[in-house]
Every structure is written in structure tokens, then in C-alpha cells.
Symmetry: C2
Subunit: 265 residues, 2 copies
Amino acid sequence: MKRSIEDTSIVMVGAGNLATHLARAFYKKGFRILQVYSRTPESAARLAQEVEADPVTDPAALTTWGRLYIAALTDEALPGLIPALTSGRNRALWVHTAGSLPLDLWAGHAERYGVFYPLQTFSRQHEVDFGRIPVFVEGSDPDTTALLRAVAATVSTKVYEATSAQRRYLHLGAVLACNFTNHLYTLASDLLVRHGLPFDALQPLIDETARKVHELSPHQAQTGPAARGDRHVMDEHLRLLEEDPYLAQVYRLLSQGIEERKNKD
Amino acid sequence: MKRSIEDTSIVMVGAGNLATHLARAFYKKGFRILQVYSRTPESAARLAQEVEADPVTDPAALTTWGRLYIAALTDEALPGLIPALTSGRNRALWVHTAGSLPLDLWAGHAERYGVFYPLQTFSRQHEVDFGRIPVFVEGSDPDTTALLRAVAATVSTKVYEATSAQRRYLHLGAVLACNFTNHLYTLASDLLVRHGLPFDALQPLIDETARKVHELSPHQAQTGPAARGDRHVMDEHLRLLEEDPYLAQVYRLLSQGIEERKNKD
């Protein structure tokens, strides 16, 4: 009988936000999840139950029967755990999910290995449509890359290959476009609330700003006082920020970057 | 016969992005737009035709018959034009649409005046659902404020009052959450493209980042290396940015702000 890609049995190493969303996505597509590992018994049990797997809290208790082991742990925790995870299971395919960790982290510990990097921000409470999340894969050899592409294609319509070097820039780009953007939302929210205004009022603007770059390049979509070179408004804003040196510094630096880019046109 | 709010005849002073979206929104709700003013004949003609108004390119040609004159001009152009606009029309209600200009810009030039500030970013090409755009109004007297609230309520479900001082902070908040956010998209896009990666891959992350703050406060939604205090990843990102001093400075400053806020928790 020909085996289909969904016959790839999975062991999920990790039970955090990403591990949860990944396990759910594979489970929904009919993959068998054998085990869920977490050093926290409650976390292992919670996710294992959801995807009909067995919970494991000790690396030594990991099965040797999995075909694909997905390590979705923090960048700090993973490297030190690799020997214990792979020992006796080094013939399986091991992948990690981290933007900033290189492929060759696995070298010497597993025969076949790779990276499975979904570019999205995950919160446990909130369901995401995994099918639209870009997944970047990298394999230790062409067969492994092909297998990872096939596995990724079962849960996402957007599968790319990226080298370890490229993936670091993806992660950095994600920090800019997601983490830093959210920080600007925080700064705007704090400012409004301090002046008796509802943060909610900014929501349509935030949505439209994100939506616009579906149609225009971010460069084309740039508006505002710095893009217009409107010194009058910028000076007034800096006066408003005299008592907030951090925010004034952010305002100056980002306005400068916007102006310089517009002047290059 | 009782007059309804839609009998308020409007003169649109300006034909840029905001003027276009405002005129369309009022026109759709059945308001009569008498004239569209722009010093550029093509712009006046284009918008005037769209909303069945007469185009005007000389302030002296503005009708005296309007009830509500909406000046949607740039912050630089408006103040100098006010005497010519209001002369002979100072008994009408004059409003401007600028976040950073105070209410009393009109004082001495009109008997009744106000501000009608929609908090959104507008592109001429792209239709927006005006009904969901927050509009902040301010009037020279309680009757004017009430009238502006009523007019605003015909085109938007989100009508607020804001003082001139508050409106300046709204505008500043909008610069942070929209203009600066878009600049971060630009920086991320440039970075990815430089490394052979598609900007499109960031779109789901950008959308989710904006969507998340509908449910969580931006403070709760903050993730990433700086929020985790992950010096290892941050140091690596700064190494990647060694040849881009501007981006490195942005990375340092925003990471510092995120870390400081997390440490306050």
C-alpha cells in the first residue's frame, strides 16, 4: 500500500503557543501525533489530550517510533536539550521551528534534519488560519527538503524554501513588522489614554495601515508629516513630547528615516 | 416643513484625498454639495462632477448660500486662505479637518466654526467604509458642536468630541500607529528584498499584528525577543545590522522601549 504524506507520524516536542497551533493544524489534517513533550506536566497533558497524543515530561520517555520530531522550544532551551532528545532517535527526521537558529544545530545528532519555520505571531487563545501562514523549510539533504515541503503543503498554501542565513533576516523582518509595530501601538495607546482618549479610536487606522500594503508597496503607502516634509507639524509634535524623552527620540529617529527615504525618490 | 440634517448644504473647500472621501460620503447620504473648491481646475472639476457640484478655483467665486463649509486643505495652505474664504461668508458654519490645527484658527473670521476630524489614512484610489471611521468634532459653541455631531453621525457610527489639545494628541497617536508603522513595514520590506525574500511573506504577520489588538491591549499583545529579554537573539540581530547604522539604531531604541515596559510589569 502506498503511504501518503499524512502517514508521517509526528512527535511534538514543546507545548507552547507555536507547538499548540502546529499540533492542532497537523491533527486536523489527519496526522497521527504520537506524543507531546513538555517539561511542565500540565502543558504536556493539555495539548496531548487535545490532539489524542501521549504526554511526556522526560526526554528519555520519548518514543523511538516517530518519523518526524518537531522541536518547537525556545531558542534558549533547544540547543542544550538536543543530545537528550535525539539520543537513540537519531534515525528519525528532526526539525526545529526557530527563525534564528541555524540548520546545522542538528549536525552530528541526527542523520536527517531540517527547519520548519512558520512566519506568524501566535497566541494560544486565538485561533489562526494556518493555511495562509507562510512556512519556510530547509532540509539537510534534497530528499528531506522535499519531504518537509510536502508536509508543510498539507497545512499551508504558502510554502517556501529559505536558507539559514535568509531565515535570520526573515526573523529580523518579523521583529520589525510585528514586534516593533506592536510597540508603536503601545506608545500610541499610552499617549491617548494619558489624554483621556480611547485607544479604540485608532483601530480603524491600524487596520487600514495593514490593509493598504496588500495593494501598495509600503514605500508607496507612506503618508504623514515626515513624508510631506512638514516641519511645522513635526516641530509641534516634538513640543508635545518634551516631557517624554523616549517617545521624542522615537519620533525624531523614525521621522528622519521617512524623510531620507522620500528625498531619495 | 421640518428640515432634516441632510438639508445642510455643503461647500467642499479642497479636492485632495480627504476632501474626496468626505464629499463622496456626504453625497451618498443625500447631502447637497453646492461647490468643490480647488486651486487646480482639474481637481475641482473631477470631484465636483462626481458629487454633482460646481467646480470653483477662486475663493472669490465661492457661494454665499452654503450652510456648512468644510475646509479640507493642507495645514500649510489653510491658515493663509481663511480671510479670502470667509470674507462675505462669515455667517455660515466653517470647519476644518486637520488634526494639528486649533479650533480658534477661525476666531474673528466666522461667527460659528468648528473642527471635523476623521481619524483615518486616505488614498484616493482605495474606497474606505466611512461608517466605521471615528470622527472627532469640536464646535465654537454648544449648538455648533451638536450640529457637527449630528452631521458626523450621518456618515459615521463613531462620533466623539475632542478639544483642540486632545486632537493634537490624536494626530500624534495616528503618526505613531500609522505613519511610523508603515515605515517599519518599509524597513522590513527593504531588508527582505535585499536578501532575496518576498515582502508578501510578511503580510499574514502584519495582518495578525493589527488584528490582535482588537482583542488584547497592545501591552498584552507584545511578543518578540525584546519582550522576552532574549539578549542572544537581539545581539545576533544587531550583528546582522552592522552595515545598516540607521536600522541598528531603530532596533536598539525600540527594543529598549519594549524591555523597559516589560520590566515595569
